[in-house]
């Protein structure tokens, strides 16, 4: 063991904190090294000298002075409004204990995780909805209500309303006509002729009807006829029932 190894350990050695071979190694070095022995003896003398310093007694009048200061402080307390006394009593350490802080942190983390997963789920659902929408029949797609921002916008919306409804009816007619074309092969020639004639007549009614409710009514008549025809409702071909 060298001097530079022993010197940092002298305090611990003299305080009896080095046991077994660690203590004996320091002791062995001190036996052979005069410089370290002197340093050790000096530190031991210092330690003993500090420990033997006289106990200092407090001045005799100190207790009376302390009592006076406490009395003054109590009087000052009594003159404070109650809310200030309550504020002075309140110690945040009593409330913000480590356990409470930990619980609050855990709640915050759980909320953040939940919010993140919720936003992820919303993002996943959004493209699916967009993908399915075109597959829905055009007739059931309601006209998207535009956000109302001002009185002018409302007026223009109302003006555009009949046209939008007519477009919806036209889409429904187109779809039903497509269905009817599929069914058509099963019909007799006379039924086909009657159907064509009826459709032409109803379409003429639509074209000649006034914009607005009369035209909507004409559309609905055509749609009802098309529905009956595609479901082979006998009413649609009432005039040709006798024909096989």
């Amino acid at each position: 063991m060298k001097c530079e190894d022993v010197r940092p350990k002298l305090t611990a050695y003299l305080d009896g904190e080095l046991e077994g071979d660690r203590g004996s190694a320091v002791r062995g070095h001190l036996r052979s090294c005069e410089a370290c022995r002197t340093a050790s003896n000096d530190e031991a003398a210092l330690r003993d000298g500090l420990r033997a310093l006289p106990t200092l007694d407090a001045p005799s009048g100190m207790w009376a002075k302390i009592q006076t200061q406490l009395a003054v402080a109590e009087i000052a307390d009594s003159e404070k409004p109650s809310w200030r006394r309550a504020l002075a009593r309140w110690n945040p350490q009593h409330w913000v204990t480590p356990r409470l802080a930990l619980a609050s942190g855990a709640v915050a983390v759980i909320f953040c995780v939940w919010a993140w997963r919720y936003s992820q789920r919303e993002r996943e659902l959004a493209p699916q909805t967009a993908f399915h929408l075109p597959q829905l029949p055009a007739v059931v797609t309601p006209p998207a209500p535009a956000p109302v921002t001002s009185a002018d916008d409302v007026a223009s919306e109302l003006a555009a309303m009949p046209k939008t409804t007519s477009d919806s009816y036209a889409a429904a007619v187109a779809e039903l006509e497509q269905l009817a074309t599929g069914e058509r092969a099963a019909w007799s020639d006379s039924q086909q002729k009657q159907f064509d004639a009826k459709i032409a007549e109803l379409k003429h009614d639509i074209a000649t009807a006034d914009e607005g409710r009369p035209r909507h009514r004409a559309y609905r008549t055509l749609i009802r006829y098309l529905e009956r025809a595609t479901s082979r409702d006998e009413v649609a071909f009432a005039d040709t029932r006798a024909t096989p």
């Binding site: 940092p8 002298l10 305090t11 611990a12 003299l14 001190l30 022995r37 002197t38 340093a39 050790s40 003896n41 000096d42 530190e43 031991a44 003398a45 210092l46 330690r47 003993d48 000298g49 500090l50 420990r51 033997a52 310093l53 006289p54 106990t55 200092l56 007694d57 407090a58 001045p59 100190m62 207790w63 002075k65 302390i66 009592q67 006076t68 200061q69 406490l70 009395a71 003054v72 402080a73 009087i75 009593r89 110690n91 350490q93 009593h94």
Partner: protein
Amino acid sequence: MTETALDVATPVLAEPRTRVSATLSDDAQLIAACRRGEARAMEMLYHQFKRRVFGMAHRIVGPNDAEEVAQEVFVRVFRGLAAFRGDSALSTWIYRLTVNASLSHLARRGRRQEVGDETLADVPAAPEVSRDPGLAARIERALAELPPGYRAILVLHDVEGLSHEECAAILECRVGTCKSQLHKARARMRELLGPIGGTPQ
């Protein structure tokens, strides 16, 4: 303020509680009685800790301000007992207040401790210290020249004889830090004192 204080403190006040017959043997009972404002319990607590509190303050801030600091500590103790949660021993808490009040006082005062020979002459040297009768006075003088942090650890561990664990609790540091600070403080003291011819080990 002092005159007003003396005027208001002079009247003898009635005890708020009469349950003074309980033995104030342990800290919990003593604290409870002090919280109730029982004069006897407060005086007991004062007498139990006055020497160490005054001694620590005396050796950290010097003799001139020691009484002022010790008074401040006891006022804080009695005023703060209601908030004392008992996380540490009562003595640890009081010594922590003492060290903190002393170091704060030194910081406020903002000057290095310079203790003259006149004031040190008031400190009686213990007769049984060592073969060197002037050693106690030399040690006191060297102690006063140390940085306040070193002074605090030397006073707590070597003068007051507290364990490393107690010192660490008072200074709110780790035991290892406490030991290394003590080693440095003693080394600095030996530099200041020079050879003191201790008895061989």
